[in-house]
């Protein structure tokens, strides 16, 4: 029952936000729901419930290994959102608050979905609910980004539906009764019709890969992340991509049970390395620091699927990386939002010297940049190290070398942009003309807390989390 509350509480909060009369107090619903959700998620993390094997939704080990990270990220974004919406009083926030809360509920459902159809419905609903958030700013650029998001995202979602149908047909053709829970599909194993399984894998990987933002299906990402408010960018990069990643993992476990695991891992490895490569090329070229975060997200999605392709050890590292990526990316997005507002622009041609205008945000931004480029002692360093170790242990030395090369060039790309923004003298006539802007605690503490957790994950990964990741790996690689 507790696990269903994770879904019901945010959705009820969304309904309440629609009915709430006051524009000024409505944003407080977000942190209120966030606190309840985080408390529930952490409680479930430490004392996991029994999962009924045939249930359509359940807090199984995969949900336990991933969902609390999304919950913490949402809480930070919600706290930031209260201060943010107070600055943006010129725009009505009813739809914004309701959509953000609904997304949290749907993400909780998507992470817990143990049924192929339910998984698709919840991820589709997340995609649609994000639409009003993307054009919150109401500019023509925001509309353009929304249009591309809908067209590319809609096509991706359509293809994942086609893939789900193919997997369903593989089950029916193999004598299945039409039970599309992942447990039933995995139990069918080798009876699943092999050609249909392979077709299903291609469509599902392309479909959910579009949602994750794997190259070459990443084209919506820079526009959406660049134009959306920072909290939305943080939730998309840390929460929505995560649900798509767990979808890929659940599907992969069925493909693995059907005896095509080696082919699936090979495609994951290839698409992951390709994503990293594409991301790095764009990171070296872009001049916009919000779009930079999008390409960095593409790179990290690549790292996640590479980890998932490398057997149990790599999968464990991928779960670790989900946490370190979500929390670090959140801190980066929120601090980048502060800088963007203070400077009134977002390209390196227009923004510089932010360390003297917004010193605290700039400090978090730089620390986040070092964390996300895998500098010790932050979380991403350790998770990426484990991915490399898993690659070498499974004999993928070439892939490991390419992985490290991409990380190095990503470091060049990110440092080039971040220091161009932070260093130097502020431009005259821009923003506050070099005067220091008072940074409110409401927009500084949330990213600071996220950075703190990222650091804590790196220095002393809690045992409960390690156990949760191990359990999730056992669920994905069941002992024969």
């Amino acid at each position: 029952m507790r696990e269903l509350l994770l879904i019901i509480v945010p959705l009820a909060g969304a309904a309440l936000a629609v009915l709430w009369p006051s524009e000024r107090t409505r944003p407080w619903l977000m942190p209120a729901v966030g606190v309840v959700h985080t408390a529930l998620a952490l409680w479930l993390l430490f004392s996991p419930p029994q999962v009924d094997p045939g249930a359509w939704f359940g807090f199984d080990p995969i949900a336990r290994a991933v969902l609390p990270a999304v919950s913490i990220l949402f809480l930070a974004c919600a706290a930031y959102g209260v201060s943010y919406l107070r600055i943006r009083t010129e725009r009505p926030n009813r739809v914004f608050v309701a959509s953000l809360l609904a997304i949290l509920g749907l993400l909780s459902a998507g992470h817990q979905a143990r049924h192929l159809g339910m998984l698709w419905i919840t991820t589709e609903a997340v995609t649609l609910t994000a639409v009003p958030l993307l054009h919150f700013n109401g500019t023509s650029r925001a509309f353009e980004a929304t249009w591309k998001y809908l067209l590319v995202g809609g096509t991706g979602i359509a293809l994942s539906l086609l893939g789900s149908f193919c997997l369903g047909y593989a089950s029916v053709r193999g004598g299945g009764s039409g039970d599309l829970t992942f447990v039933a599909l995995m139990a069918q194993g080798h009876l699943l019709s092999r050609p249909w399984v392979l077709i299903a894998w291609v469509f599902l990987l392309v479909g959910y890969g579009t949602k994750m933002g794997l190259a070459p299906m990443h084209t919506w990402k820079p526009d959406a992340y660049g134009e959306a408010p920072s909290i939305v960018g943080a939730m998309l990069a840390g929460g929505v991509t995560t649900v798509a990643f767990t979808a890929v993992l659940r599907v992969r476990s069925v493909i693995n049970a059907a005896g095509a695991g080696a082919a699936a891992d090979l495609t994951l490895l290839a698409i992951g390395l390709f994503s990293m490569l594409v991301a790095v090329l764009f990171l070296l070229g872009t001049r916009d620091f919000k779009r930079m975060l999008a390409y960095s997200s593409v790179e990290h999605m690549g790292i996640l699927v590479i980890g998932a392709a490398l057997g149990p050890a790599g999968m464990w590292a991928a779960f670790f990386h989900v946490w370190s990526n979500s929390l670090t990316k959140g801190a980066l997005f929120l601090s980048a939002g502060n800088i963007r507002r203070a400077a009134g622009a977002r390209t390196v041609d227009e923004v510089r010297g932010m360390s003297s205008v917004t010193p605290q945000s700039a400090a978090i931004f730089v620390a986040g940049m070092f964390a996300v480029t895998a500098c010790p002692p932050f979380g991403p360093f350790f998770s990426e190290l484990l991915v490399v170790r898993a690659a070498v242990a499974t004999g993928h030395v070439g892939a490991a070398a390419m992985f490290l090369g991409c990380l190095l060039f990503a470091f060049f790309g990110l440092t080039r942009l971040v220091f161009a923004v932070v260093d130097g003298k502020p431009r005259p006539g821009e923003g506050a003309e070099g005067k220091r802007i008072r940074e409110k605690a409401g927009v500084i503490i949330p990213p600071l807390v996220l950075m703190g957790i990222s650091l804590w994950l790196g220095l002393a990964t809690p045992h409960a989390l390690q156990a949760a990741w191990t359990d999730a790996v056992h669920q994905l690689f069941p002992a024969p």
């Binding site: 698709w120 419905i121 353009e144 086609l162 149908f165 369903g168 050609p195 249909w196 526009d223």
Partner: protein, 213 residues
């Protein structure tokens, strides 16, 4: 019964080609609308024991795909004063040839896939593959937002056709959930088309080029 089914799916495949070759936007919208109606009645043919839920799903599909969405698109088209697709990325004759080739390939390719005996004699799988392919050609090859939405709708029709393979074995609950979601998705697209035209006074996606490296 299979002959009626194949006749209807054959019609849908013909409408694909009509949508590919049409240079006038209303013609493409009409092709999509008729295709929606034709496909909407298929569940009634496939389901042996006639239940009220199947009938409801069929009625909703026909209403939404055949009337509501085309109506939205027509309104957007009139508001933006676009009658013709001018200078598409892939010309009308090449896209027609591509579509015809794709249809033939779909019929040939479907023979190689392992199907259940009751599906082997139907055009369900070839029709689905051909529509998906047509949808992609329109999505990639047209510049006007309305034509791209039509491509997306044809793509969805193809996937819907494929889903009919499973209508007997999966619970109808999932099927209707899926139907509901498709409706919502397309509805949002309708709203966006409406918004976009107010923002740009035209639905030419070539003008959507501010955001790029």
């Amino acid at each position: 019964m299979n002959s009626t089914l194949n006749l209807l799916i054959g019609m849908a495949m013909g409408l694909n080609l009509l949508a590919l070759g049409g240079s006038r936007v209303p013609q493409v919208i009409r092709a999509v609308a008729v295709q929606g109606i034709v496909l909407g009645v298929l569940p009634l043919l496939l389901e042996h024991d006639f239940g009220w839920l199947v009938a409801l799903v069929a009625v909703i599909t026909v209403m939404v795909k055949g009337f509501l969405i085309p109506g939205l698109l027509n309104r957007a088209m009139r508001a933006a004063k676009i009658e013709r697709e001018i200078d598409p990325f892939i010309g009308f004759v090449p896209s027609l040839l591509l579509g015809a080739g794709g249809t033939i390939a779909a019929v040939a390719g479907a023979r190689m896939l392992p199907l259940l005996p009751e599906h082997a004699g139907t055009l369900l799988v070839p029709g689905a593959l051909a529509s998906i392919f047509t949808g992609f050609i329109l999505l990639i090859g047209r510049a006007k937002a309305i034509s791209q939405v039509c491509g997306y709708l044809i793509l969805e029709n193809g996937i819907y056709l494929f889903g009919l393979l499973l209508i007997r074995s999966t619970p109808l609950l999932v099927e209707s959930g899926i139907l509901l979601d498709l409706t919502v998705g397309v509805f949002v697209i309708g709203i966006i088309v409406d918004r976009i035209q107010r923002a740009f006074d035209s639905l030419d996606t070539r003008k959507l080029t501010v955001l790029r490296e």
